[in-house]
């Protein structure tokens, strides 16, 4: 009996690659939109445009993290190895997006506020996500048996998902007590229409990229598993 993993692996990779190509094209369009057709913020100047990459990357990291959590819950319930593979892929993609967010932060902060890092709520939150992703991968890398690895990662995924609201809450409360210069905003409601439009477009494009990377990564890993040989990740 050939495995359930077999049938769509190639197809999934292809679909994923299509999404990536679409996403990258969209990204080019968004850059053009951001640089040419969106007004420059008066106070911050050109570096502010990193915002259109920075915020969607954070959104994608969180989305990926939620996918890991949901896949983890489903795995413990259904014990389907494909869910474990999906969670593994989502964690890897999420890690990449969180790194993008964490590097664009300083790139934005330094020219505008002359500081490489601030502990604003969003950056701190994404930093924690980053560490959770790293921990998740490290644990997976340290366990050989695939069933055990799937089980343990699922528990980490679920605990991490539940942790996230607590981190958000305590960091937010902490920050309201120790207000810092309003950095790495503007918050959405006060955005003028052109900026909001660019942000939302970028958000959409990034989500497409997320799905593309996720599917491609999942498909490739599924193929590798079938080729025999279990790639410990």
């Amino acid at each position: 009996m050939t495995d359930a993993l077999v049938f769509p692996a190639r197809r999934i990779v292809r679909r994923g690659l299509v999404l990536i190509v679409l996403g990258l094209l969209g990204l080019v369009l968004v850059y053009v939109l951001a640089l040419r057709f969106t007004p420059t913020e008066r106070f911050q100047g050109l570096p502010q445009k990193i915002f259109y990459v920075h915020v969607p990357a954070a959104w994608c990291a969180l989305l990926a993290f939620s996918l890991v959590g949901i896949a983890s819950i489903l795995y413990l319930w259904l014990r389907d190895p494909r869910l474990d593979l999906f969670a593994e892929s989502a964690a890897e993609v999420g890690l990449v997006f969180s790194v993008v967010m964490l590097t664009t932060g300083p790139l934005w902060g330094k020219p505008v506020w002359n500081t490489w890092w601030t502990w604003d709520a969003r950056l701190t939150f994404t930093l924690i996500l980053f560490f959770l992703f790293v921990g998740y991968r490290a644990l997976r890398g340290a366990i050989q048996d695939p069933g055990e690895r799937a089980r343990f990662s699922a528990v980490v995924g679920i605990l991490g998902l539940v942790l996230v609201p607590f981190v958000h809450l305590t960091v937010y409360l902490f920050r309201t007590l120790h207000p810092q210069p309003i950095v790495l905003k503007p918050s959405a409601p006060s955005l003028p229409w052109e900026m909001l439009r660019t942000l939302l477009s970028s958000l959409g494009v990034f989500t497409v990229l997320l799905l593309g990377f996720l599917l491609t990564r999942y498909g490739l890993a599924a193929e590798a598993r079938l080729a025999g040989g279990d790639d410990a990740r």
């Binding site: 413990l76 924690i128 560490f131 959770l132 790293v134 921990g135 490290a138 644990l139 340290a142 366990i143 069933g147 055990e148 089980r151 343990f152 699922a154 528990v155 980490v156 679920i158 605990l159 991490g160 539940v162 942790l163 607590f166 981190v167 809450l169 305590t170 960091v171 409360l173 902490f174 007590l177």
Partner: protein, 226 residues
């Protein structure tokens, strides 16, 4: 229910007895806590930062880090002779096994904290009169939460090669909410602030405990289910 508790207490008792025989983990954790306190004393610019300002953070970093150290032994002793198989073979609920491990770990971490707190008062010259009760309550609330998560992670990392490194790596993000809350409460207690300012943070601690202890009790059986 009575059966559940009986099993948990038997496991906890066994863990405590094993540790009291060798004492290595307990002594190491206490020594670690003392050393951390010493380092903190020297690792600050005395002219720029007063002891009082730093005190809450120092206390909580000491408590949480030495707590994590103490947790490592929890499942490594079960791995030694595959004793864990013996536990899993018994016709007992796996959640009861977890509860037993958790209670024993609580006992250890509380023991470390009981030694670390007076040392902290000694080294940092902090006046705890009036705030001692509150600090003890905070310690109980915060420890209850992170030891639950730490016990689950200890079960997972015991089988890995770099367990002593993996456990802190996984647990530390989970320490963030309790430590942030505990530091806020401690700072306010030491400054003599009214209860109304503290209540919110204590509620967060309590809620964190409730959620994570329950979650860990529920997740332990599927974790052990090969």
């Amino acid at each position: 229910m009575a059966e559940f508790l009986r099993v948990a207490l038997a496991v906890a008792g066994k863990d405590v007895r094993v540790e009291l025989r060798s004492k290595t983990a307990l002594v190491s954790a206490i020594a670690f806590a003392a050393l951390v306190l010493v380092i903190f004393n020297f690792a600050r610019d005395a002219a720029a930062v007063s002891r009082e300002m730093l005190a809450p953070s120092v206390l909580w970093i000491t408590f949480s880090f030495s707590g994590v150290i103490a947790l490592n032994r929890s499942f490594s002793l079960e791995r030694e002779n595959a004793a864990l198989d013996g536990l899993l073979l018994a016709p007992v609920s796996r959640s009861a096994l977890f509860l037993g491990k958790y209670l024993a770990n609580l006992a250890f971490v509380f023991s470390v904290e009981t030694v670390a707190l007076p040392l902290f008062v000694l080294f940092f010259g902090v006046d705890l009169s009036g705030s001692l009760g509150g600090i003890i309550l905070t310690a109980i609330l915060a420890t209850t939460g992170f030891v639950a998560v730490g016990t689950v992670f200890a079960a997972m990392t015991a089988r890995t090669r770099f367990a002593e490194l993996m456990l802190p790596l996984l647990v530390l993000p989970f320490l963030l909410p309790p430590v942030i809350s505990a530091v806020q409460v401690t700072a306010r207690l030491l400054a003599g602030r009214p209860l109304s300012e503290i209540a919110g943070w204590l509620r967060i601690l309590g809620f964190y405990d409730l959620v994570f202890v329950t979650l860990c009790l529920l997740l332990f059986p599927p974790l052990m289910d090969e």
